[in-house]
Amino acid sequence: MKYVNEFRNGDAARVLAEKIAREVHPERQYRLMEFCGGHTHTIFRYGIPDLLPANVQMMHGPGCPVCVLPMKRIDAAIELAMKHNVILCSYGDMLRVPGSHRMSLQKAKGQGADIRMLYSPADALEIARQCPDREVVFFAIGFETTTPPTAVILQQADQMGLKNFSVFCNHVMTPPAIRGILEPARQSGQTILEGLVGPGHVSLIIGANPYQDLVKDYQLPIVISGFEPLDLLHSILMLIQQVNAGSRMVENQYTRAVTDSGNQKAQAMIEECFEVRESFEWRGLGELPNSALRIREAFAHLDAERRYSLTESIGQDNKACECPAVLRGAKKPTDCKLFGTSCTPENPIGSCMVSSEGACAAYYTYRSRAIPAKSFSVNSLSKEV
């Protein structure tokens, strides 16, 4: 695949790794967080931790929408499907996320609920058109990357005058989540990170500019990164260079796709369809102010939260599950007692074990067979494209 394979070249990876090794000061600590779950996945899939000096540590952030959605929102989706008897359309990743009482959408489906797995939100509109006598709800989740497609279908449903369609909106925003991680540390006068790898696909939409305030407020370098292994190694190198130089800037490694101002047409569509919620609960980060979106009044007729009365569940997570600490980068998946024993991708107890972008799932799948540096080659890398 063009513009993918070139960024998986093994020789270039080795050169970057050597350059990182030369650049790193042995007496220094480099704790770098990749915000995005897609980056976490790449880091493990290509064994990047093994290419880094011991004092460069990758910490995994909360940028996995499946992982951060609180249990009560899953419970609400299950309620929509079971009690309100709608056709619930969801991205596949959500199906196995545990809700209260170890229920999940998948189990609800097993008990007869009509739950459809979608590749694209456009398919939800098609289902609504084909089943005019059924209510169809799209379970919308995701960061800024996934919000614009939901805006498109809201506008289309409105234009088509679809009466049997609505959206259960759970879209969340990246900059407030980064604040959610860094603010408690700042208040207690601690430094928990030396640098941050900024999410590439979120930034296609929002651009590089929104990170400027974060750099100013938290005094740490941010490098927006592409998703291939060379992109990540390059971004890590750029962060290390900034740390060594004492500089704190927003840099863009993913210049082939990210601009300073982002996709303004998409931003305008988001603005038209959604408004900011005063507060939203995140798994692991708690209630964060101005961190999520809800559907605007103009599209109220397409808002599942207005159309159905949903019970607010308490949603108690398993007490032993360390997802909250894992999502804040405070603990590693292997610090959890349940990791790999009671909790596996086949039988997840916490949300971080469900999606392939969750830190626990990525750790579990790839940690045992991380590709050692010397076999990091074009051949071993390109086959899964």
Binding site: M1, K2, Y3, V4, E6, F7, N9, D11, A12, V15, L16, K19, C36, G37, G38, G63, C64, P65, V66, Y91, D93, Y119, S120, P121, A122, I141, G142, F143, T145, T146, P148, P149, V152, P199, H201, V202, L204, I205, F227, L230, H234, Q253, T255, R256, A257, V258, T259, N263, K265, A266, M269, S355, E357
Partner: protein, 72 residues
């Protein structure tokens, strides 16, 4: 969830749709979120929607940077 891949636009279907090839399969995608898409452009595709254009020039610059590091 945020998985997105670069694809080349093979044809324009209408104002909001384009045809691309993905892993040997021809596919319709939405270009409703972009302005001014041309045949031959590379776009970043996510859940059936093109989210941004890919600049081939910038991609080359990054790759050249990697090969320069190689030579030093």
């Amino acid at each position: 969830m945020c998985l997105a891949v670069p694809v080349r636009v093979e044809a324009l279907v209408d104002e909001d749709q384009a045809l691309v090839e993905l892993g040997g399969v021809k596919k319709h995608i939405s270009i409703a979120l972009l302005e001014d898409v041309q045949v031959g452009d590379y776009v970043i595709l996510h859940v059936g929607y093109a989210l941004s254009k890919l600049s081939e020039e910038e991609a080359q610059k990054t790759l050249e940077l990697f090969s320069q590091m190689h030579q030093i």
